[in-house]
Symmetry: C2
Subunit: 174 residues, 2 copies
DNA sequence: GAGGATGTTTAGTGAGCGCTACAAAAATAC
DNA sequence: GTATTTTTGTAGCGCTCACTAAACATCCTC
């Protein structure tokens, strides 16, 4: 997961993944079936942990605007480079990848994340839920890309604060 | 340029680039020196043309807020997939690339773009110019990534309108 | 200890990568 | 019209890719 997160799917080879796991390629394939098989499990582990910024923000409670703003602030805290891995594995792990299987897995995870946010917004009787969810998703995509380009936490937090304020004002969220 | 734009730097091979140009690899290297050499020229051509959304918006004139909002709207118009190429070549062309030379070229172009926007904002006596430029850059990064993930023009334009309004209101731009 | 199932290793598959030595061909110079 | 330079094509360099056949080691059962 760390290797995929740090360098993206295509830039990490099976030989390196195997040696990092302390095994040889045949054992790798016996355990995971394929490189994409391990990537799928890495995506699940990532989405179940610190990578899921929305779930983390939602757990703290509060109104829709507060949760969404905290989602962006949480991303600003998590996305900057740590241990060589910046941004979001789900959002940027397969960007420019030539592998259709890994790309499909990643796209499905992104779609699911966006749907989760949209449903949360819609469940709180907010009009234009789709628009709000898209705003958050595109903001997260931008923050993840910026982090991968080396943006620090301060830069991301400033953006998150501005975007969060904009969210509440533009869409009248309370 | 089209191939790099559509699939990213690493996913396009010299053999394919050569055959698309109607030449053989030795002629390719005689003309461009290396794969990164062609990429550098592709970046320049892209930045000098339709890819430079800020220059296009600036040319129409108006106050700072209007120019920046038009930059985002222009991106919403240009970024969706056309001829298989979506998003911005400068912003996403080398994402997850394993090639340090191409990554450095791309990073320099991004840095230059950000500096151009920051200087434009600062030249109009706007406080927090850096913050404004970062907001625009991260918004563009998000729109480029979203376009690469398949977002249509309507989705991007809606985001651009919201982000543009937010820009003017949050930073008091006129 | 023998036999069988399990799992790991060695060693390599064919394919593609960026890139290039070398020779054939085309263009230029005299 | 021959000689020289420049350009092009053929073929393949060493390397890495995801992936695997087959030999080897390990364990449990009897």
């Amino acid at each position: 997961m760390k290797l995929f997160h740090a360098r993206g799917y295509d830039a990490v080879g099976v030989a390196e993944l195997s040696s990092e796991l302390g095994i040889k390629p045949p054992s790798f394939y016996a355990a995971f079936g394929s490189k994409a098989g391990l990537f799928e499990r890495a995506l699940q582990r990532y989405a179940a942990g610190e990578g899921n910024v929305f779930a983390h923000a939602q757990a703290t409670g509060g109104n829709v605007g507060a949760v969404l703003e905290r989602t962006l602030l949480r991303a600003a805290h998590v996305y900057p480079r740590r241990d060589g891995a910046a941004g979001c594995l789900v959002l940027d792990g397969t960007r420019n990848s030539a592998d259709p299987e890994a790309s499909a897995l990643s796209a499905a995870a992104r779609k699911a994340s966006c749907a989760t946010i949209r449903d949360f917004v819609a469940a709180h009787a907010v009009v234009r839920a789709e628009e709000v969810a898209d705003f958050v998703m595109i903001a997260l995509l931008g923050m993840s890309a910026a982090a991968r380009d080396g943006a620090d936490e301060t830069t991301l937090r400033t953006f998150a604060e501005n975007a969060g304020r904009a969210l509440r004002r533009e869409f009248g969220l309370e």
